[in-house]
Symmetry: C2
Subunit: 226 residues, 2 copies
Amino acid sequence: MAQDMTLLWGSGSPPCWRVMIALEEKNLQGYNQKLLSFEKGEHKSPEVLDMNARGQLPSFKHGDVVVNESYAVCFYLESQFKSEGNQLIPDSPAEQALMYQRMFEGLSFYEKLNAVIYYEWFVPEEERHDSALKRNREALATELKLWEGYLQKLSSGSHLAGQSFSLADVTVFPTVATLFRFGLSAERYPKLGEYHALLKERPGIKASWPPHWLENPEGQDALKDV
Amino acid sequence: MAQDMTLLWGSGSPPCWRVMIALEEKNLQGYNQKLLSFEKGEHKSPEVLDMNARGQLPSFKHGDVVVNESYAVCFYLESQFKSEGNQLIPDSPAEQALMYQRMFEGLSFYEKLNAVIYYEWFVPEEERHDSALKRNREALATELKLWEGYLQKLSSGSHLAGQSFSLADVTVFPTVATLFRFGLSAERYPKLGEYHALLKERPGIKASWPPHWLENPEGQDALKDV
């Protein structure tokens, strides 16, 4: 089915996971794929740089067409394979608006998560400040309360843009799963906990679950007090 | 035409400008609008917070539908008014892929610009480091070379995703214009200079040019050596 597609990816990377979920949902299994290691610096290898001048994963190719940015791949796949697998952009204007809105708010959500869990990775030792990390944690807590509120307004069992699973879920779920992997408390954030529990059983999400999370189901606890 | 739309915006904000360009291109003039001042903190006023819990501009409403994220508004308008004004998503799969790719790379471009020109705005005084600002400037220079290269590969007079003006231009042009407003050298970056010169004459862009740039045509020179 998808033999003319190639994906280079890293395990546990939310952007890579978004692409893999979109591929599953559009029924595009059987693509060529290669799991690379960020730790070994393989995202800067010639193989990646050849497809992606930024040296980032995911790197994705369909025939001669290269699309690397995860949101770009999601839009591209939905547009090119509209009638295959699950429809990922709802028809109703109101649901569509909500989907777009949540998708792009999802970028802030992801960024605020990273600013906490990868603070030491992003900031050289001599430039680190407890005050900055504290502010980042507070910004993440504020963001989490926003999303908890968004979910509260939806009827139970809903997806981010309403009744049906959409690109908003494709792009935001990997952030939510990473939050819980890093110890977020489902007692403090019950609606996010419910959403996580609902979607982690979805076939397209199960099939693309990060392999190193499966190998080592114990996560971290960096976010347990956020 | 667009009397059921309301836009709250700030002058010179690239996200606000994206929305205004999209509205112009889709022929949706005549919307209700209010120019607010970031300096006076009006983006945190009750009027904004009522539409946008993040207290950010743009804030946009179409009938009862609120969409605030600038990329979300662009997608929403193109989807809801597909056959009005200019078509902003190309038909060909290759151009579409390139458009999505450049749009989302555009977010990195914008972020790298901000990390230089708003460094002091984002980082409290006691957390600033010359080493960080230097790294941010280098990252911006690397990014600029990437875009210069992208434009070099296109035929002269092209837009970011090929022959026709698209959402890639709607979203990335305000970043490019801001670069030149802050003193970027068109001698160092001739292709970006050419792209800027071409698009600033486009009617939808002229009509939405930031009013305080018109009032005070003299920009800054923070980026002249980048």
